[in-house]
Amino acid sequence: MSTLLLEALRNSAARNPGAPAIVWRNTKWSYADLVSAAARVSNVLAARGVQSGARIALLMRNSPQYVACYYGVLGAGCAVVALNSHERENVLARQLEHSGAELLIADRDHVEFEPLRRLAAEQGVAVMPISLGDDEHSQSLFAQEFGASELSWAPAAPQDLAMIIYTSGTTGRPKGVMISHGNLAANTAAIIEYLGLHCGDRGLCVLPFHFSYGNSMLHTHLAAGATLFIEDNFAFPQVVLRRMQDEAVTGFSGVPSTFALLLGRCRLQDYDLSSLRYITQAGGAMPRPLIQRLRTELPSARLFVMYGQTEATARLTYLDPADLDRKLGSVGKPVAGVEIQVCDASGRELPPGEIGEIRARGPNIMLGYWRDPQATQQVLRDGWLYTGDLGHKDNEGFLYIDGRAVEMIKVGAFRVSPQEVEEVIAALPDVEEVAVTAIPDELLGQAIKAVIVPRAGKKLNVLQIKAHCREHLAAYKVPKVVEFASSLPRTSSGKIQRFKLA
């Protein structure tokens, strides 16, 4: 059985307490610092009378404080509800309510902090505001806010709930993926194994920790005793590249748009990236020319193309870099402990070459969707996770992704449910009906398009629609294109034909 995260962190701290664990802006937290800060959080929760099994929500950007809170919540025997810091107050409030969180620990400088605090108070959720110091005083500030650091962590069992990640759903029905301690431990161990992560590694993370990919990058580095550099904004890719050079970074992970941004405006050969040992890419298919360019510009770094989903903690498969040329376009084979099949609608496994739904089983598959047994039953059946992705295997067992069986838009690496965007637009009084679909986007892979039928005699304008969406949705969910029509294309049975909207 894999080592659970708390124990893995403690092991890393015992082996090398002074080694830097998390580096963010002008602050550096060692493993000993991190364990002690996490213990402070656990103690505060215990002092507040929070019982084990309670959910504790976190709303903060990537920072050492987030990491300390995360491990502190686990140490208190509670589960982390990692809120998406890009979301707006209304969505956050609904997720908070749905999770039944007892306490929200939130960055007091977050743009949604004040409105969310009011909404949390209405729900009876206690709020603990914290400051994210980013200089040499960050730890004393944290200690002031959280107090004593005697370590007394509650032992966790593999099947215990460790984390809830809210993924794309409708606004009225949030979808919280339940990840257990065992899930995290198994996926962390599998990823460390194929990447060969060790305590000498220095990873640079631009991915948000509250999503599964960033979450896995965080835990794998801590369990390996490595150093993780947080770069919380990718708007200036050359600043990131300079940091990679100056810090002799050995590992970097991104989604296709990360690499499109990196290669789009920067000349990688202008930087000394010779320390870069590996690059990982997940979060959707990356165009082959981009893969080729990345390999040409970074010939010494091994490129891992990977596939996974939140419901599988993070990772399901990876393509060994040694097979990249031979199997370009494939997402490889299952990670250790995972089994993957391609099946037809009746659940029969399909032979190589035939396209069907991808299903997976293994110790990393989620416990289910929080407080939604119906949605859980739809995807967890007969011991398998039905991914909703379409794919096929070749004769050697390499997996290829061919699309999605479930309607979902992928903007960058973010899954967006068309229904969620439709619900928000439909709330405008002058909208008769609306349908949302994906359109191709050079940088992000897909972008969102909304087609709206206004009520008779009413006029709407594009800015008004986008402003309304921006007020109620995360920025990446705002449609890039808004069009008006007199009717929507439908099948004879009345179902909207989204593919005709693009």
Binding site: H86, V111, N233, F234, A235, F236, P237, Q238, V239, S257, L261, G264, R265, C266, R267, D270, G412, L443, L444, L463, Q464, K466, A467, R470, A475, Y476, V478
Partner: protein, 85 residues
């Protein structure tokens, strides 16, 4: 001229990221990233806007927050580039 440029830049950001024409929605020194107004792809679009609409080439090494993270910073950057040209 600087004022016209400033308002042109502000109007572009208001229309494309805040979806309004109300100038009060965006202070001239507001951090575009700090306020969550633009993300990484938005910043790339702003750079395209500077190059295509304002006729100023942005070099790799010039893509830094000091040049691009507010209306005033972008205005000053564009003016200094035009003067140097």
């Amino acid at each position: 001229m600087a004022d016209d440029l400033r308002e042109q830049i502000r109007a572009f950001i208001l229309e494309n990221y805040l979806f309004t024409s109300d100038p009060d929605a965006l202070g001239l020194d507001d951090s575009l990233l700090g306020r969550g107004i633009v993300d990484s792809t938005g910043m790339l679009e702003i750079i395209f806007f500077i190059e295509e609409q304002l006729g100023v080439k942005v070099k790799d090494e010039e893509m830094i927050p000091d040049n691009l993270d507010s209306v005033n910073k972008i205005t000053n950057f564009v003016l200094s580039k035009r003067q140097a040209a």
